[in-house]
Symmetry: C2
Subunit: 241 residues, 2 copies
């Protein structure tokens, strides 16, 4: 029940952040990769006769999606790192140039938790003796910023893109192997729903929010996206019954 | 230079969080919406003769992508809210059931910033007089969790999905209006690159990371995704020159 309190707490938090960043990237890539190419292929299979076009569109989508998400993840992570550094430089200047304002900000942080100035004063005195720690304190408690892990951007981009490609190939495989579009669609629906359920269950286990509930969620998202894409493509193609 | 220090700080931070959540959702939806349907349509236009199929695949992708991202955003936001509540309940129990452990955790938080026990003691004494604020303090400073805004999940889902649809329709419009695939592709490239540049510049202005740099980034992502999808589709279709 009280695992956090039992462990060394800072170790626990850091371990949690490290792994959760990679897990989050895999989850981002896989959940979209399993869903969007699946739904696109299902949609097209209801409207075009040739499975060649379904495969073509699916692979083009995987290429576009993995690059968009991977590069997007890269730039987002690099932006986070740069934002952290520039905010840190600003705090470093501010504790020198506007010392009194920054002292006042410390009191304000504690006031939000009904800690009065007298109780906060010893903490401020201690931080003032150690400017580097004062800056660390302001980064975390004033601005709510964590220092991003080094090389996070590259790893994030490759993890997201790789997971998207891996996820996207699963629903496409049947269209590559079976020439009949309807048979391929059925096979694709079956293996993708199984993959979505396994992925959701595993994600629920890892994140700790329950395997069954997460499995139902991932199936719902993938199923809803595929059903809407299928109906839309049929309607537009004049095949609606 | 010191805008943060000049304003009331907590107001500044809250205003920043509120708007950044909506802006972030719009950015998420628009950047993928402008990029992936654009790249898919460009890729297919190099491989299939009929612009009807390009439009069909593009609309199916927009349907699939907006549902996957919108529902995904909804579940992520709801998950955040539930995680916050369950961690809050745990902290509420812990400050009653394992008061000493929780006190020790406060000392540990301050020790990370070289603030010794004597200096931290008055803060602890003050927090102990006000259990609700003690829990607030632990949520923010031990666990690094912010209370999510109410109804965040619904708004997040609709904002992301709407932005994805709006972004995705821009590159598809030429294929709907111009029957020649090559002419439509050229028009789609021009208007989408303009839209990506405007979007990037505006994003850079809003987030404060420079308009030119962000415009170049969004053009790079969209252009790279479209170029790879185009080459891949042509290669697979045996049209490679």
């Amino acid at each position: 029940m009280h695992q956090v309190a039992q462990n060394s707490n800072s170790q626990h938090i850091e371990g949690h952040f490290e792994s959760s960043a990679v897990v989050r990237d895999i989850v981002i890539g896989l959940s979209d990769g399993l869903t969007v190419p699946f739904a696109l292929a299902a949609g097209l299979s209801g409207a075009v006769a040739s499975s060649h076009i379904v495969v073509l569109a699916g692979l083009a989508e995987i290429a576009a999606g993995s690059i968009a998400m991977g590069l997007g993840g890269y730039l987002a992570a690099r932006g986070d790192a740069e934002h952290y550094i520039s905010e840190r430089h600003r705090e470093e200047r501010e504790i020198v140039d506007c010392t009194e304002d920054e002292e006042e900000e410390i009191y304000e942080i504690f006031e939000r938790y009904s800690v009065d100035r007298a109780a906060a004063a010893p903490v401020l005195a201690s931080l003032k003796q150690n400017p580097a720690q004062w800056v660390n304190f302001m980064m975390r408690f004033e601005l709510g910023l964590e220092e991003p892990a080094a090389n996070r951007a590259h790893r994030s981009a490759l993890t997201i893109a790789g997971s998207y490609i891996a996820g996207g190939m699963i629903p496409l495989l049947p269209y590559m192997l079976v020439s009949d579009n309807l048979a391929a669609l059925k096979l694709s629906v079956i293996i993708t729903l199984i993959a979505l359920a396994l992925f959701g269950a595993l994600k629920g286990k890892l994140v700790g929010t329950g395997w069954l509930r997460n499995a139902i969620q991932t199936i719902t998202i993938g199923g809803a996206a595929a059903a809407v894409a299928y109906l839309l493509a049929r309607l537009l193609n004049g095949h609606a019954s």
